[in-house]
């Protein structure tokens, strides 16, 4: 394919070094095969591309974007310049994410929308809210954080989501979905109460619209009639990914069909073809009917939001026209603008990928290839999925439920094997839990795979619909503990606390992948009460898995001792056991033999084990990657009631600190919170009173 445009204007030379300049000329001579859809070719694209690549390999110059630090620098741009800005912003986003990893597809889909919003509105006085926040990278680039993009999702760097403490332009922190309309309405009402005149714009996706909270908010918005704008970003993506292992799949839910109907003129067309040669005005009469208000827009209208759309979300002219008109209309009440976009737009590899490059690791922009480190071991997620498949093969009553997270929970694998036994309910955790409860009533064995932090949303359903009635629903909570780059919004710190306080719930945690398989089996076997198990993000430790990933049910309420020692006992819960083992290994050469035990169950607690440890050791340390109120508290509660604290026992809990841990590299986070093996060792020295010894300090600081 020939190159579309190649211009050597003066601005190119300014930004590009001489090496690249000579490459460019060389490239022209070579007639590189470069197919690039340049709908609106921005002036001055430097096409220094590798052969056969479908995108630039070097970042093209971005003269317009370079001149914009904040949205008010955009106000005097013409439409053509805005389009050029969008193109530059797009390439800037791709190159930035290629170096840091992060969310890509969603940001690409809203480039034009972001440009249009910042052009028309006056942030930060005008409030612009981004649902979930993973599409806010272009917003961040335009609002003074472009220079910090290389620090995205890293320790002390930019957050991957909107964050109030990071910038005035981030009005509301996000990470979980479907909160924007609620928050936006709150901001609109607050503005009204304070007598201010700014605008409030809430951007929410069609996936997030599957959650109940969006309707709660719209219902209230229609009733209060406060002026605000909701932008429905419709890209036909509900689940992550909106595709199965076998290929693209339609988004789950009836709402997506309704939104699609809004977009098409199908009824007219079908009529037109059916009545070929029919009377002109009969046809014309019919085609006027029922077309303007498609069956979907009346839903929003009935809720009290004025519907405008559909609108081409990649056409800056249309977007700015509509936004400006709405902005300048004196009284609107709540308005919903239905914007149709394409996830991954503008990056050919993303457009073609089944997951639309939703979340990527570092990649090569020219080829789209991601640099994924080869994992030595299976991830906990994959291990769980395989174990569940093994259980389902043996027992036809086993079904799996997830909330739009087929990829993240590994249930895509389960769906591939058992398509009729895997239920994706959309972003609706509350419904997922009660739905599982209903299934359990009928003798089915439901496994609800919901991330620990997303389970928070369904807590009342867990308590009231499942635990109170003692229904045997199994909860598989992935992403327990710290999660690294996603930060506190995705951190699963609280699940031990909120699950273990429920009277009927069995609460367990595996210390490695093999234990995970056994716990899946145990969960399948527990049929008279609900149970849950938690496992962390990341890869397993590499232990040998049971054949076919099919575990063996454990004895409920029994832990195990891994290493026999003396004086100090480490009682770990979940993946923290690995840190305990590592701490013991650190201290062994120095003559300290620790006992390491794996509690396995927080509820019911292995009382015999705890009693034994308490009676035969001077010190007992419990370790978990959870907040206060979890495993350690249950142990303490038991120790106290059993009289075991009335003697000389020293008991210490190691838990996550009482604050939110910022995003960063997992190793950094663990160091920050004091749960690394050397921190555990330090605690032991502290207890034993020998922490000032040179040896102790060496051990701690060397590691």
């Amino acid at each position: 394919m020939a190159l579309n445009t190649l211009s050597f204007c003066g601005s190119l030379r300014k930004g590009v070094g001489s090496d690249a300049h000579s490459n460019r000329l060389h490239g022209v001579d070579q007639q590189c095969h470069f197919s690039f859809k340049a709908k609106r070719s921005s002036s001055g694209i430097c096409a220094s591309s590798s052969k056969r690549g479908e995108y630039f390999s070097e970042k093209p110059p971005t003269p317009l974007l370079d001149s914009i630090n904040y949205p008010n620098h955009m106000k005097n741009l013409s439409l053509k310049e805005l389009q050029q800005l969008a193109d530059e912003l797009r390439s800037d986003l791709i190159f930035n994410v290629s170096k840091t990893g992060g969310h890509l597809g969603s940001g690409l889909g809203v480039i034009e929308l972001t440009v249009a919003l910042h052009y028309v509105f006056e942030a930060p006085q005008d409030r612009i809210l981004w649902d979930v926040g993973h599409q806010s990278y272009p917003h961040k680039i335009l609002t003074g954080r472009r220079d910090r993009m290389p620090t995205l999702r890293q320790t002390d760097g930019l957050s991957g989501f909107t964050k109030r403490s990071e910038s005035d332009y981030d009005c509301f922190g996000a990470g979980h979905s479907s909160t924007t309309i609620s928050a936006g309405l709150g901001m609109a009402v607050g503005r009204d109460l304070k007598g201010r005149k700014n605008h409030v714009v809430a951007v929410i996706g069609d996936g997030a619209m599957t959650a109940g909270q969006a309707y709660e908010a719209m219902n209230n918005a229609g009733y209060l009639d406060s002026d605000m704008i909701v932008i429905l970003n419709d890209n036909k993506q509900v689940s992550l990914p909106t595709a199965t292992l076998d290929g693209p799949s339609p988004p789950v839910g009836a709402l997506s069909r309704a939104l699609s109907r809004l977009q098409s003129n199908r009824p007219l067309r079908e009529l037109g073809e059916a009545s070929k040669g029919g009377s002109m005005h009969e046809l014309a009469a019919k085609h006027g009917r029922g077309l303007m208000s498609g069956s979907g827009s009346t839903l929003f209208e009935e809720l009290g939001l004025y519907y405008i759309g559909p609108v081409d979300g990649h056409n800056i002219h249309d977007l700015t026209t509509i936004l400006a008109r709405v902005k300048n209309t004196k009284i609107t009440g709540p308005v919903l603008i239905h914007v149709v976009t394409e996830k991954g737009k503008g990056y050919p590899y993303a457009e073609r990928a089944a997951d639309k490059y939703h979340g990527v690791s570092k990649f090569d922009p020219a080829t789209g290839k991601q640099f994924k480190a080869n994992a030595r071991t299976q991830s906990y997620t994959t291990c769980f999925a395989r174990a569940l498949i093994a259980e389902a093969e043996a027992d036809e009553d086993v079904v799996a439920i997830h909330a739009a997270m087929g990829g993240g929970t590994g249930l895509d694998l389960f769906n591939h094997r058992f398509p009729t036994r895997c239920f994706d309910v959309g972003i609706a955790e509350q419904h997922a839990v009660t739905f599982a409860a209903g299934l359990a009533c009928e003798g089915i064995k439901p496994f609800c795979a919901i991330y620990s932090s997303f389970m928070q949303r369904a807590y009342d359903q867990v308590v009231h619909d499942v635990d109170l009635q003692k229904l045997p629903v199994r909860f598989a909570m992935d992403r327990a503990g710290l999660v690294g780059a996603d930060g506190p919004t995705h951190c699963g710190a609280f699940d031990v606390s909120f699950m273990a306080c429920l009277p009927n719930m069995v609460v367990m945690a595996p210390s490695d992948e093999a234990e995970l398989c056994h716990m899946v089996s145990t969960a399948a076997a527990i049929d008279d009460r609900p149970c849950c198990f938690r496992y962390p993000r990341g890869d397993g430790v590499g232990v040998e898995l049971p054949p076919g990933n099919k575990g063996v049910p454990l004895e409920v309420g029994r832990g195990r001792i891994l290493v026999e020692g003396e004086r100090v006992a480490l009682l770990g819960y979940g993946a923290a056991v690995q840190s305990c083992l590592a701490a013991a290994a650190l201290l062994e050469p120095h003559g300290l033999r620790l006992t390491v035990a794996d509690a396995r169950f927080c509820k019911p607690l292995d009382r015999a084990l705890v009693r034994n440890l308490a009676r035969t050791h001077d010190a007992l340390i419990t370790v978990e990657e959870g907040s206060v109120g979890g495993f350690g508290s249950h142990v303490a509660h038991f120790l106290a009631l059993d009289g075991l604290l009335d003697g000389n026992l020293k008991w210490r809990p190691l838990v996550l600190p009482d604050r939110y841990v910022d995003h960063g590299a997992p190793a950094d986070q663990l160091t920050q919170v004091g749960l690394t093996p050397s921190c555990i060792a330090a605690t032991i020295f502290n207890i034993l009173g020998s922490w000032k010894s040179r040896e102790a300090l060496e051990i701690i600081f060397r590691n």
Partner: protein
């Protein structure tokens, strides 16, 4: 909010159109009009007989009004023609044709009296209403491109309607929370 939804389908006048406009093509049972002298261009429509091929007429021609006709003209024309072609007053032997004409006139009124529907109709007339005679198979891409072409018309009329509602909200006795706060803020 439901009152404004209805406004799309019902005539907004307060005068003596006592029957509703059902979506089906059944003629209404009772009709009452206030007679008015017909404007000149309408008389030709009134004088047209049913033997004139209705298929060739556009809605405007059917009602006998210019394409730039106002809502008032449309209403007047409709009333006259409905009165003429109502099956109850048709000459003997022509009941069927008259009924058909009546239905056509009614459909014309329904389309032209609704601004957004009228806009869509005008657009299709301008593009020759080729859809009615489309022999070729539309590819999905063509369909999508056509859809997108329609979108602009749709949202343009939606924006006009929003403006109109804004004015209405200002005057109306709106008691919603938002309206009360707006009045307070504006000092009214």
């Amino acid at each position: 909010m439901s009152s404004t939804a209805l406004a799309h389908s019902l005539p907004t006048s307060g005068d003596a159109l006592r029957f509703s406009f059902p979506r089906s093509t059944r003629p209404p049972h009772s009709v009452s009009f206030r007679p008015r002298p017909a404007p000149l261009h309408l008389r030709s429509a009134l004088n047209a007989t049913v033997s004139d091929t209705p298929a060739a007429l556009s809605f405007y021609e059917l009602l006998g009004i210019p394409e730039t006709g106002s809502l008032l003209e449309i209403k007047q024309a409709y009333k006259q023609l409905a009165r003429k072609y109502h099956p109850d007053v048709s000459p003997p032997g022509l009941a069927q044709e008259y009924t058909q004409r009546f239905i056509q006139v009614q459909e014309a009124y329904e389309t032209l009296s609704d601004p957004s529907r009228r806009a869509l109709y005008d657009h299709h007339v301008a593009s020759g209403l080729h859809l009615a005679f489309a022999a070729r198979r539309h590819s999905r891409f063509d369909e999508e491109m056509e859809d997108r072409g329609e979108w602009k018309n749709r949202w343009q009329s939606q924006l006009s309607e929003l403006k109109r509602r804004s004015v209405q909200k200002e005057c109306a006795d709106d008691m919603s929370w938002g309206a009360r706060m707006r009045r307070e803020r504006n000092g009214t």
